[in-house]
């Protein structure tokens, strides 16, 4: 949110007057549509078609601000003048836009030899996502964000495709110059997901290695630089308050069938939740519904968790909630809506900022309370931050920036099978109210054993009531994080500066996962169980930077920087699983039967030391050359290869300035090119073969086993090399801008756990192997198509990115590398194919691509084949801003085109008869679409398949565990990602409440799915995160959120 200041206006009672005038420019003559505003007020107007304006109620102390796109803004004191003849000059300031780049150096954007894109804080906070990273989606070319919708969840961020086969592909997150540790866990998030969006002044995305050579290893995947607000520029004291309330519902509702109930063989009957024998007391009821009843033989159907049951025609059946009564079997078309809650996010943030010549500070506090769409799931986040700086005379500035972040909540529900292995006749509202049915609900009672005590549910064979699980078996965490840095900036001479800085990021997280409660199921008693995991992680960075910045002559500028850094990482995990609680419900490690406990722990420590330098030469402020060099020493590599060097070179030329090409059409033109390398080390402890603890036998004989990953004592660092070239053009005095970037980057010598034949006795070996290239094109087009004198304005920015990823080589003799496996379907890095090629069992097809049937069922190929790739063809976004006086409407369209994923959930849901398509032909039989061979095997002759197959057999071929192809879906989506409608409240209303400024916005995220090829779910889904993209199985659905945002400045 913009910072609104409270300024004491002594002139409230001064005399006011009316002023008129005309605005023109040398090049364009009279200018219409120029905004004329009395500074610090909302009193203003715009010039008419003849460039004339008139403004009332102006005071002599006021300044008038004249601004228009493409022209430099000027401020003129009113004094005793009543008529103004204003001449605006063409704006060059926009071109001199200053951006924060590597090492926190502010540079003119035009001097950069590589591509960099920014997002201002306010565009992240209105139509907000609790996780700031999600706000980047669609706004920055080449950035792909995938997230799941759970409260406090993490996001997977990939810039310009995946470059590492097995390692980290996430960008480095740097806050105010100091890296923040990231977790790729979807469930717990961590890192960028914990940042308070209201503190962000600006985010800069440095893509690829070119922009980031100076951040070292982890910047190979790009850097997201976050600059927080620090109160500087504040005159006096300012208070900001922001409130954001959003409500969430599931975004996409699957298309269910509402004809047949749960069960099998056209029967639906609850006996004891286990397909148990139906007692004679129900004989008449059963006969009334289904005709025949065989005493001691006929069973219930609740044990079958599929929907091949009776037509939901109102026949009277026993159901889980009816007890010994019967009730009409009726469709529950709304049970999807019943299952999900309306989630909510409430953020309140307040900041106090102040500044003067000696320094500035900003103290902020924000509280986020999130309630998930799944019952009892929630997330709470408290952020306290203090940024301050103080000038000790002219020569020294000390800065401090620190945050304490506390997060907690229940993140139990990540995925579920409530709509996959399910009975369509279930009302979830009724199940949520399970407690009311405890006495009527019939449980299984095994002779000679205690009767079952599970909470009422639609069945007990496989599932426990999910509402009960979310409430009583939560997965909670409690995390404390402190991060911050102190820095001293010395101004040694006018040209020479020194910065000394120390920063640390520490977090401790305690995760409690309650796995079971004491209960009797099928006559067997199981105890309460839980696990407790304590994680501590710290990264500390010390660095120094000496900067020499001088205009050598009036034409030549020179900037040199020499720096050094030490980075220390430490991590500790303690995990205890309690297999048997003594007293159920009391979660303390000592309340356990020790023989049933499992303990694990892990320590990781590593250190990297670096020296680096950077030189920049400028000529005529239009031609720039940058050279950087860095050497790292890493503790995780063997001594002979622990030191590695990597340089970069980049150049840019503002050719419009150099060659005097400026015209009314082309305002600005720049070409840029760069080449860069980034080296990367290994994870710790991969150099020596070890044995691993494997628990114990009978709680007494300790067990160890040989690590099945073969260590490598001669690892080398991996190297990413990238070239990038770009063109930045602005037309019509910056009314239209075009930025094109081409890049080609290669990561070599990748440190991989390469899978080997298991018959070698081992699963994989650590190797320097693998080479992946990413080539791509990024395009950003921005402009102002409409800018009317009436004040109506339309700004649009379009971005497009395509990345072509190819695995060039792996280890010797190795063709493929498995990234993720599920049900035998693998996501592979395969030579000659993109990273993330999906490989599995598919159906036999003719050359024309038709599925070949035999006896009415598709024939499966016996060997695995390529079924798709997780890589999208291209991604893009269109951001529109419409403004009219006090009203601003923003709409962001976000698109990902192409790419496949293995949606085991949807395919399984077809197999189990959940979806609308499975109701078709159930009783008559189904003819599969494809051909069959009526010729011989040698000379096939294909005709349309005409064999009728029973519905459940036919849809049974949607078993994605065996026929992987049925689970492959297109990942394309086009979404109306964000909409916000903002209105600045008129000052006349505010002044009475002593409020300086106020803006109210209506905001929405995931507002509309504009296009998708998936019949049932939002294709933007990812079960595993990290390098294992492209899988889903009943993941928490993405949500649509709508809400409002209020920001006040005092």
């Amino acid at each position: 949110m913009t910072l609104f200041l409270f300024t004491v206006a002594f002139s409230m009672h001064a005399q006011t007057k009316s002023i008129s005038g005309v605005v023109s420019s040398k090049e364009d003559g009279l200018i219409p549509g120029v905004s004329v505003l009395a500074k610090g007020t909302t009193n203003g107007t715009t010039t008419n078609a003849e460039g004339k304006f008139k403004i009332e109620n102006v005071q002599p102390e006021d300044y008038l601000v004249f601004s228009a796109i493409g022209y430099a803004t000027i401020e003129l004191p009113v004094g005793n003048k009543t008529k103004f003849d204003v001449i605006l000059s063409t704006d060059t300031k926009v071109l001199n836009e200053v951006v924060v780049t590597a090492l926190g150096i502010s540079r003119e954007k035009k001097s950069l030899g590589f591509s960099q894109q920014e997002v201002k804080g306010e565009s992240l906070t209105e139509a907000r996502s609790a996780n700031v990273a999600n706000g980047l989606s669609g706004k920055i070319a080449g950035v792909q964000i995938t997230s799941n919708g759970g409260p406090g969840s993490g996001s997977n961020i990939i810039i310009r495709g995946s470059s590492s086969v097995a390692g980290n592909n996430q960008p480095l997150i740097v806050i105010d110059g100091v890296p923040m540790q990231q977790s790729t866990s979807n469930q717990f998030g961590g890192g960028i997901s914990e940042i308070n969006p209201d503190n962000i002044k600006e985010m800069s995305v440095l893509k690829g290695p070119n922009a980031a050579a100076l951040y070292g290893s982890r910047a190979a995947n790009g850097v997201i630089l976050i600059t927080t607000k620090n109160g500087s520029g504040t005159k006096g004291i300012g208070i900001e308050y922001n409130a954001n309330v959003t409500f969430e519902r599931p975004f996409i509702k699957p298309d269910f069938q509402n004809t047949y109930g749960g069960g099998n063989g056209y029967r639906t009957w609850y006996s004891d939740g286990w397909s148990g024998v139906i007692g004679n007391d129900a004989a008449d009821q059963y006969r009334a519904a289904y005709g025949s009843f065989v005493p001691g033989k006929t069973t219930g159907t609740a044990g079958t968790d599929e929907s091949w049951g009776a037509p939901m025609d109102g026949r009277l059946t026993r159901q889980w909630w009816t007890g010994t009564d019967v009730a009409p079997l009726t469709p529950q078309p709304n049970n999807w809506n019943e299952f999900w809650d309306t989630g909510s996010s409430v953020t309140n943030s307040i900041a106090l900022a102040g500044g003067n010549d000696l320094g500035s500070f900003r103290l902020s506090y924000a509280k986020l309370s999130q309630k998930g769409i799944s019952s009892f799931n929630d997330y709470f986040r408290d952020n306290v931050s203090l940024n301050s700086n103080y000038n000790f005379g002219k020569f020294l500035t000390a800065t401090f920036s620190g945050s304490y972040i506390k997060t907690s909540g229940n993140r139990n529900y990540q995925s579920g099978q409530q709509f996959i292995w399910a009975h369509r006749h279930i009302s979830w509202d009724r199940l949520a109210d399970w407690d009311s049915y405890t006495d009527t609900h019939i449980q299984r009672s095994v002779a000679g054993k205690l009767p079952d005590t599970d909470p009422p549910n639609w069945q007990h064979t496989y599932f426990t009531n999910p509402f009960y699980m979310n409430e009583m078996l939560p997965t909670t965490n409690d995390k404390n994080r402190i991060l911050g840095n102190v820095a001293l900036n010395f101004k040694l001479t006018d040209d020479l500066k020194l910065m000394l800085r120390s920063g640390t990021d520490f977090w401790g997280d305690t995760r409690i996962n309650i796995a079971n409660f004491e209960r009797i199921r099928n006559g067997n008693q199981t105890p309460g169980r839980y696990s407790e995991e304590v994680l501590n992680s710290q990264e500390t960075n010390h660095d120094f930077l000496l900067t020499y910045d001088k205009m050598l002559t009036s034409d030549f500028s020179f900037l040199a920087q020499v720096g050094g850094a030490q980075r220390l990482n430490s991590y500790k995990r303690n995990y205890t699983y309690v297999g048997e609680l003594i007293v159920d419900g009391l979660y303390n490690l000592s309340n356990s039967n020790p023989s049933q406990n499992v303990a694990e722990s892990r320590i990781e420590k590593s250190e990297v030391q670096s020296l680096y330098s950077s030189f920049q030469f400028g000529y005529l402020n239009a031609l720039f050359l940058d050279i950087t060099a860095r050497n790292d020493w890493s503790s995780t590599l063997p001594s002979e290869d622990r030191s590695y060097f990597y340089p970069s070179v980049s150049a840019s030329a503002v050719f419009t300035d150099l060659m005097n090409l400026q015209s009314n059409i082309l305002t600005f033109g720049k070409v840029r090119a760069s080449w860069a390398q980034v080296g990367n080390d290994a994870n710790p402890y991969q150099l020596a073969q070890t044995f691993r603890s494997g628990g114990s036998w009978n709680g007494s004989a300790a067990q160890y086993y040989e690590n099945t990953t073969i260590a490598n004592s001669s690892l080398k660092p991996e190297i990413t090399t990238g070239i990038e070239a770009g063109l930045d053009l602005r037309f019509f005095r910056n009314k239209l801008g075009l930025d094109i970037t081409y890049y080609n980057q290669t990561t070599e010598n990748q440190i991989l756990g390469v899978e080997i034949s298991k018959a070698s006795g081992y699963g994989q070996r650590i190797l320097n192997a693998g080479k992946i290239t990413n080539k791509g094109l990024e395009l950003t087009l921005s402009g102002t198509p409409i800018d009317l004198p009436s004040g109506f304005k339309w700004d649009i920015s379009v971005n497009y990115a395509r990345n072509r990823n190819e695995v060039i080589e792996l280890a010797e003799g190795l063709e493929t590398f498995t990234l993720q496996e599920r049900r035998g379907l693998v996501s592979l890095a395969k030579i000659g194919e993109p990273y993330g090629t999906l490989y599995g069992i598919g159906f036999k097809r003719t050359d024309a691509g038709q599925v070949i049937y035999e006896n009415g069922l598709p024939i499966t190929e016996t060997t695995p084949q390529v079924l798709g790739s997780v890589q999208p063809k291209w991604m893009g976004g269109i951001n529109n801003t419409f403004s009219y006086k006090r009203l601003v409407i923003n709409a962001l369209i976000d698109a990902r085109i192409g790419g496949s994923f293995y949606d085991e959930g949807t395919a399984t849901g077809r197999w189990t008869g959940q979806y609308a398509e499975t109701a078709i032909g159930r009783e008559e039989g189904v003819i599969g679409e494809g051909v069959m061979n009526v010729g011989t095997a040698e000379s096939p002759q294909y005709v349309s398949n005409d064999v009728i197959i029973p519905g459940n057999v036919f849809y049974g071929r949607n078993n994605p565990r065996r026929y992987h192809e049925v689970g492959i879906f297109d990942g394309t989506f086009v979404k109306l990602r964000e909409v916000s409608i903002g209105w600045r409240v008129p000052e006349t209303i505010l002044s009475r409440a002593k409020i300086q400024s106020a803006k109210i916005s209506l905001v929405g995220r995931n507002v509309l799915m504009l296009f998708s090829n998936h019949p049932h779910v939002d294709p933007e889904v990812d079960a595993y995160g990290g390098n294992s993209q492209g899988f889903t199985y009943g993941q928490l659905p993405s949500s649509r959120s709508l809400g409002f945002n209020l920001s006040l400045g005092f």
Binding site: T299, L492, G564, T690, G761, Y762
Partner: protein, 488 residues
């Protein structure tokens, strides 16, 4: 300015303190794994390798990869599924079934047995003939499972991922060659194992009783020799003669007390895998097969009551391969496993005295050894009845009638209840017991053919294709219908 430099100096000193350890001397120590040892005594490797191998063989907790209860026990028609018959009962299995069985036998079991052999061997760090002998016996047993399941498998060049000249793409050995190696290794193991020799700990199978290990080694050698008897008659006869003629040097099982069986305990995860699946995880998907129940009823065999639990009154089994809609209708009436098999401490059986007697009975019938077929046969039957603690009905032998190969194999099949893999292997070798015609309502995959082997893992296709292709060429084709070497 002076003041500035003072401050600067102070700053530099503080900063230098922060990075004073800025030399990389300590890096090697920093990168030494504080979590895992680089060497370990065999006593800790042995229990892990035994437990993992036996669990994988007997049960396996993970759905879709349970070798015995999603495969062999169903195919041998001991058990049938009352739901999800497409998970093995109808002969369809998923890649994880044959991928993970392979991986676990090699990488959880064999590699650790092999490490013990190296470490406890004459040239090893901790020479100990008894660890060496025990690990060798176990290694042979696991390799025999692998080759009996898949056919040719990497043997002579397998397990060499960390040797001086490492092999990452091992070649496949013919079953004949593997059998020769295994039989020879068992002889060596028997020689190594020294009663009164160095003591061993971590022996969760025989608790350090070396005599029992020797008995197991020689009994296992008889099993393998008998298996290849029709293919390699001379060698097999010689091996059997060597063992049987010299019981002092080559002791064999003499009672059920010698049985090779892992005695599970109630303590997780040392409990029986079937207990984990059927009790702890609450899966009730298995009933007794109609084939088994009917066979037992035909002979009024009281072992049925010890193995199974009737579901009201009389025993009934479910035909194998029924579609779910039909199979579930039997849920209420079909017999299920007794607690003898589902208890936490139920044993996982590798080889029994009873099985040995049936082996000898068959060998005697075939003329491979001298001795009285009937005597061996009856000892085998008796041992099995004893095992279940029930008496042989008076008319039992009479109702069986003349002892033939079929009768021996039928009773061996009954005695092997639980040891689905061994029963399946013997069925594939001999064709006994002859399975009844399929239920008309049942539907089977694999062209209705009872699986003859497991397909090779898909990981071998992607990681070891050249060698795999040679193996496939040698056996014909990689499917579940190719007959293996010992098929008679």
């Amino acid at each position: 300015m002076k003041k500035t430099y003072k401050i600067l100096l102070t700053g530099l000193i503080i900063f230098a303190g922060g990075i004073s350890n800025s030399c990389t001397d300590g890096f090697d120590e920093l990168n030494t794994d504080p979590n895992n040892p680089t060497s370990i005594s065999p006593q800790y490797l042995l229990p892990f390798a035994i437990e993992k191998s036996v669990d994988r063989y007997w049960g396996g907790r993970t759905r879709f990869e349970r070798l015995n209860i999603d495969g062999a026990m169903l195919w041998m028609q001991y058990l049938s599924r009352n739901i999800y018959s497409n998970e093995g009962d109808s002969y369809g299995i998923t890649p994880t079934f044959y991928n993970n069985t392979w991986e676990s036998f090699y990488d959880d079991g064999l590699v650790n047995f092999d490490r013990i052999i190296k470490q406890a061997g004459t040239d090893g760090a901790q020479p100990n003939v008894n660890y060496e002998g025990i690990a060798l016996v176990m290694k042979v047993w696991v390799f025999s499972l692998l080759t009996d399941l898949y056919g040719p498998v990497p043997y002579s060049t397998g397990l060499k991922g960390t040797t001086k000249e490492p092999i990452y793409t091992p070649s496949y050995d013919a079953m004949e060659a593997i059998y020769a190696g295994l039989l020879s290794d068992l002889k060596i193991a028997n020689e190594k194992l020294k009663i009164g020799g160095p003591s061993v700990s971590g022996d969760i199978l025989y608790n350090g009783d070396i005599l029992k290990w020797k008995k197991f080694a020689n009994s296992l050698r008889l099993r393998l020799a008998n298996r290849q008897a029709t293919k390699k008659p001379t060698e097999s006869k010689a091996i059997m003669a060597e063992i049987l003629s010299n019981p002092a040097t080559f002791p064999i099982f003499t009672s059920n007390a010698d049985n090779a069986a892992l005695k599970h305990t109630a303590t997780l995860p040392s409990n029986n895998e079937w207990h984990q699946v059927m009790i702890q995880d609450g899966r009730t998907d298995w009933s007794l097969s109609k084939t088994f129940v009917d066979f037992m009823k035909k002979y009024d065999d009281p072992r049925l009551g010890a193995i199974g639990k009737s579901n009201g009154g009389s025993f009934e089994g479910i035909p194998n391969g029924l579609p779910d809609a039909i199979a579930t209708t039997y849920l209420s009436s079909a017999a299920v496993l007794s607690s003898r098999f589902t208890d936490a401490s139920a044993p996982s059986v590798i080889m029994t005295y009873s099985e040995l007697q049936f082996i000898l009975a068959e060998a005697a019938l075939d003329g491979d050894i001298s001795g009285n077929t009937t005597e061996f046969f009856q000892k085998g039957v008796k041992a099995s009845f004893d095992y279940y603690g029930v008496n042989i009905p008076a008319s039992f032998y009479a109702s069986i009638g003349t002892i033939s190969k079929a009768k021996i194999m039928e009773q061996k099949w009954v005695a092997l209840f639980g040891q689905g893999v061994e029963a399946w292997t013997e069925y594939r070798r001999t064709g006994y017991p002859v399975m009844p015609t399929k239920d008309p309502r049942a539907s089977f995959e694999n062209n209705g053919i009872l699986p003859t082997r497991l397909p090779y893992p898909t990981t071998e296709y992607s990681l070891n294709k050249a060698e795999l292709d040679k193996a496939i060429t040698a056996i014909g084709s990689d499917n579940m219908q190719t007959k293996l070497w010992w098929t008679e």
